[in-house]
């Protein structure tokens, strides 16, 4: 196939579409809708994944959390509820027993405490008791100020490190560092603010106030609380090793008989991946099946219109063949026409899809945190490739019919 032939095929195809512009537009609606579904699906999944990766990064990909609760929700709810709390003493024993981990640190939460800063009072924040080491995990990394020190830990100094949202809520438009804060009536000095961590999967991280564990014990006591042991493995490669040890130590500390099942869960950030696997699948399933349906309908429409196009131009095909056009030249002309038809539809769909992306972000609060205001470009690229492939598939049979026309028979047709 030579360049002049290819250029001729393209210009003939363009002219054919231009001459029947509205007909072309109508036949391409199915493809357009299919493309729109694919793009919106890709856009949603892209948003979900972005958010998910941020969640995992903020929790730390090399972190394990030994907890009474199962984050994946795979263990039966009734079973989880019947588990005994992890006590402070158990947590300490586990942390002391671990050998392979980089470090481990206890976490304990109290909800509903009355918290006030100047005129503002809230009971929404979660007070988290932990140790200075927590400042070395991704979730304890400060954006401003610092995490509390070992000395402050030991001496039960009343200092607090705020989650991103709490900081905004209690100290709107102010720098919270050095300010005073009352937790259950006791004054604390704010010494740091943690980086924003929350995503659609969990806003909880940003609603915490971290205080030294001894202070926590003094305020809320130790009973009726289940501790979580945050374990930093050191690297993702060490996760398995550390998990294995952690499980053994937990079982020993909890005094489980060899045949008894675990009465705790070892959670990790990856658990969120499993959690949204279902959501992902639902989005995928809907998107793919809707777009497949539209594509099938679209392809049928285009096959039809391409046969019409071949019939309308039989004489022209005869003439081109009479002066030496080979089968592939004629076939190419029609394949390009149907591919272009689909590309027109797909381009319209991309324009609409991008408009929807912008509108949704603007209209629904909160979506801006994880959705991009445009369809991800590589997905637009994929959509265009898929659409033109659909066009080529749709154009195949008509193009072959055109290519095989006998020149004399075609010339007589009119």
């Amino acid at each position: 196939m030579t360049l002049p032939e290819i250029r001729e095929a393209v210009s003939v195809a363009l002219e054919a579409i231009r001459l029947n512009f509205f007909r072309s537009l109508l036949t391409t609606i199915g493809i357009a809708i299919g493309t729109l579904f694919v793009c919106l699906m890709a856009w949603l999944l892209y948003g979900l994944d972005t958010s998910l990766n941020r969640t995992i990064a903020s929790l730390g990909s090399d972190m394990l959390y030994a907890d009474k609760w199962d984050w994946t929700g795979r263990t039966r709810w009734t079973e989880v509820r019947s588990r005994k709390d992890i006590t402070y003493w158990q947590a300490r024993a586990v942390i002391e027993g671990l050998r392979t981990a980089e470090f481990a640190v206890p976490l304990v939460w109290a909800r509903g405490a009355r918290i006030s800063a100047g005129p503002i009072t809230t009971t929404d924040a979660v007070v988290t008791g932990t140790l200075s080491l927590y400042g070395k995990t991704p979730s304890g990394t400060t954006a401003a100020g610092r995490f509390f020190s070992l000395a402050e830990d030991r001496s039960a100094t009343p200092v607090a490190v705020l989650g991103y949202k709490v900081a905004q809520q209690l100290f709107p438009k102010q720098n919270p560092l050095g300010k005073l804060l009352h937790i259950a009536g006791i004054p604390f000095t704010v010494i740091g603010v943690v980086e924003q961590q929350g995503t659609i999967f969990s806003s909880f991280e940003d609603e915490q106030i971290f205080i030294p564990l001894p202070m926590f014990v003094r305020l809320f006591g130790l009973t009726k609380r289940s501790f979580v042991i945050a374990v930093k493995a050191g690297s993702e490669e060490r996760l398995e090793l550390v998990r294995h040890e952690l499980r053994g130590v937990m079982r020993r500390v909890r005094g489980l008989a060899p045949e008894a099942p675990d009465d705790f869960s070892i959670n990790e950030a990856q658990a969120f991946r499993e959690q949204i696997a279902g959501l992902r699948q639902a989005v995928w399933g809907t998107g793919i099946s809707m777009s497949m349906l539209s594509f099938v309908v679209g392809i049928i429409g285009i096959v039809n219109i391409m046969f019409v196009s071949v019939a309308e131009r039989t004489y022209e095909i005869g003439l081109r063949k009479a002066v030496g056009a080979r089968r592939r030249s004629i076939a190419l002309q029609f394949l390009i026409e149907s591919a272009l038809l689909c590309l027109v539809g797909a381009s319209a769909a991309l324009a609409i899809g991008n408009a929807i992306a912008l509108l949704v972000r603007a209209a629904i609060p909160g979506t801006g945190e994880f959705l991009t205001p445009y369809i991800p470009p590589h997905h637009m690229g994929i959509a265009l490739v898929v659409a033109s492939t659909a066009g080529i598939i749709a154009g195949w049979a008509p193009a072959m019919r055109a290519a095989r026309l006998h020149p004399i028979v075609a010339l007589r047709h009119e």
Binding site: P4, E5, E15, V323, G324, R328
Partner: protein, 248 residues
């Protein structure tokens, strides 16, 4: 140049249209040399067009051999025939057969596109061909802006532009008035005198008299094959040819 341009051996063509077979050609054997000007005549349905289509590689014979420049082309496939049509044979139809939306220039360029000739050379050659048929001033006219005679000249230019070794024409004057027909015939005559080989189908005796040799068909067979010792020359004036037309 001793081998004839065209050798036909017992060529037959049978159309099978459901109920009964139509024997369009029943064994044609003949030879045509380079730079001959042949007219094919015969009653309607005698197989003239069928023969010309096979000569022009637009169709394949049912049996028999067709040697074109020494090469057997009777069993070639679609694309191989297309290549010969594209490079070797200029075909002129009765109904002009131009692309209606394309300019004269674009119409004449068409075969060159499929020969892979680059745009610039294509335009030059197409313009030269249109000038050769006296349409140098009509390059950007579309078929519906041209007279019948002019359209047929465009078609002839399109046949010429590939520098064919054979020009075929099926009743090229059939859709034209006498004067335009004469002009077209003078053009063919001139092309012949420049060394082209021309085979032309016609119903009309006065058209055939431009040719050097007249083959008459009847019922798919060659009825007669006679030389025309004094073909009408290019130099014959318009009035003379009107007389001839009137007398025939």
């Amino acid at each position: 140049m001793d081998t004839p341009l065209i050798v036909l051996e017992k060529l037959t063509k049978v159309y099978s249209t459901g109920a009964e077979d139509v024997y369009a050609l029943r064994g044609i054997s003949l030879q045509i040399r380079a730079n001959e000007f042949v007219a094919i005549m015969g009653p309607s349905g005698s197989g003239k067009s069928t023969l010309l289509h096979i000569l022009g590689c637009l169709d394949s014979p049912t049996s028999g051999r067709y040697l074109f420049r020494g090469r057997d082309v009777s069993q070639l496939n679609d694309d191989e025939l297309a290549r010969i049509r594209n490079r070797e044979i200029g075909f002129v139809f009765q109904a002009f057969n131009l692309l209606p939306r394309a300019t004269a220039l674009k119409n004449v360029e068409l075969p060159l596109i499929y020969a892979g000739v680059p745009a610039e050379e294509r335009r030059q050659r197409a313009r030269a061909a249109l000038e050769a048929v006296g349409l140098g001033d009509r390059l950007s006219h579309r078929p519906n802006e041209l007279s019948g005679g002019q359209r047929q000249r465009v078609a002839i230019a399109r046949a010429l532009v590939i520098r064919p070794s054979l020009i075929l024409a099926d009743e090229p004057t059939g859709n034209l008035d006498t004067a335009s027909g004469q002009e077209i015939m003078r053009l063919f005559s001139e092309l012949w005198s420049q060394g082209n080989t021309i085979v032309l189908v016609t119903h009309e005796e006065y058209i055939a008299r431009y040719a050097q040799r007249i083959i008459r068909l009847r019922d798919g067979r060659v009825e007669s094959d006679t030389p025309n010792p004094e073909p009408l020359s290019v130099l014959v004036t318009a009035e003379d040819s009107h007389d001839i037309a009137g007398n025939s």
